[in-house]
Structure formats: structure tokens, C-alpha cells
Symmetry: C2
Subunit: 156 residues, 2 copies
Amino acid sequence: MDSTRIAYIAGFLDGDGSIFFQIVRRKDYKLGFQIRSTIAFYQKTKYVKILKFLKRIFKSGYIRHREKGMSDYSIVDPKEVEKLLRLLRPYVVVKKKQLELGLKILQKLKTCKSAKQFLKICKLVDKFGKLNYSKKRTITSKVVKDYFIKNKLLPL
Amino acid sequence: MDSTRIAYIAGFLDGDGSIFFQIVRRKDYKLGFQIRSTIAFYQKTKYVKILKFLKRIFKSGYIRHREKGMSDYSIVDPKEVEKLLRLLRPYVVVKKKQLELGLKILQKLKTCKSAKQFLKICKLVDKFGKLNYSKKRTITSKVVKDYFIKNKLLPL
């Protein structure tokens, strides 16, 4: 892809996009939780064309129409998220910390083999709460830790 | 300036910026009105660094801190607005219509010599109301026309 196009997307993400990681409850997962990565682009529905243009480029993710005439385009596949973060890395300014933290988490997830390691990664995910000023974050590393101890996945 | 930097700024503007033109009342102006051009970038005050970075690049405009932890960086000097619009022209996607309309207005303003010509330009400015879905637009070309007729600046 042309470097000015990548830089444009980095600017678009910095202006009105989001990089965020969350811990989500997954009963079908061995450890009971999953770490979900998301890159999201927001735009008024009347300008949904630009989101469709991004989707055509990335060939991943989905567009949703929200309330108040807003739409978003989200990519959650960890491989795609990593690819995109690496691509945008030289150009992102505002969300630089989120980008670097995201790449660190994705890297660590690849070699994660124990509840203890997973919990460490969850602590990195906690940092997204502060970086993005998110208020709705209910599942923190503390919740995961308590669950692990209760279910004997971690030593006391 | 490096083309990826310009493309980044175009993306940033498309994501969360604005290009708008307004008719403003100016009692000290011969025709009683001025056409004001604005390029604005918005960002959370905690990320004001990116706005300062843009201001250092453009050496024009001003940063203001607004309510709810938001800040904006606005450029209103018509010469600077034109320079910037020309610079961003190859990369802007979402706000392409605003950009082209803005350049057209700035071009016409340079050779505007009569109330009649000014009124024509005001009609172009009216189009920004629709393009940007702005609701607060009170001074339209109609208001200017009525004023011109009342003050005998235009033939009846």
C-alpha cells in the first residue's frame, strides 16, 4: 500500500478512531476469559463511504450503524489488528501509547501458556482503561485473578 | 513538507476536523458582511499536543480549550486556509466537497468587486449549511440580500 494512504489512515484513526483491548468472559475458553483487541473507526453514517473504503482495503472487520446517525468500522481479528498496527506504527501520533501497548499484548498472547502468564497480560490490558479514559471497564485483571483462584487455576 | 505528513493531516481532518465558511456581520465593512473561512481540528484537551504540533507546522491560527475536556485548533486567515486546502487537496476524502467549495469561494472572493458578486458568493456559502448539517446558520445569502436592498447596495 502507498505510504501516503497508510499515513492518511493513521491520521483518520488519530482524529476519530480507537485502539482498545478488553478482557471478555468466555465460558467456552479453558481460562474462562479472552482478550479482545479492537481497532475502530467512527464516522457519521452519511459518510459511511469512507468506512467502506477502509474495509475494502483491510478485507476484514465489520461496519455497524449506531444511534444518532453514527457508524463504526471495527476490526477484531488479532492477526488483522496486529498487521494493521504494524502498518500504522510509523505514522500514528495521538494513539501511539495505545498502539505500542496493543502490540506488546498481542506479542505476549502468542506465547501465553499458563494462567499466571495470562494474568500478567490482563494487567497490561488494565492500562487501556486509563489510556482511553473508559468508564465501563468491569472485567479487570482483579476479576480474572479472583476467578482463577476460586477455580484453582492459580496457586493461592 | 513530507507527503506522508500531509496525508496524515488530511486523515486527521477527515476523522474529526471541519472545513466551514460562514457569513458574519461586520459593521466596519463596506458591504456590512464578511465571509469567514475556517479549518478546525478538534481533540480532547489531554491530547492537545497534536494540535500544538499542527500549529507549529502551519504557523497560524489559535488553540482554544472548550467545555467537556475538548480543545480545538482553528485557522481563519483566508490566505492560510487556501494554502492548507491546496496542500491537503490530493488526500482529503470525506470532506472533499467542502474543500472544493471552499477553494471556489476563496478564488471568487479575490476578484469580488460588487455587492452583486458578493451575493453570489454568499449563495455558495449557503451550501456549507447543507454539507456540514449545521443548524445554527442564521446569516444566509437571503439575509445579505435583504440588507443590500434595504441599504440600496443592490438595485431592486
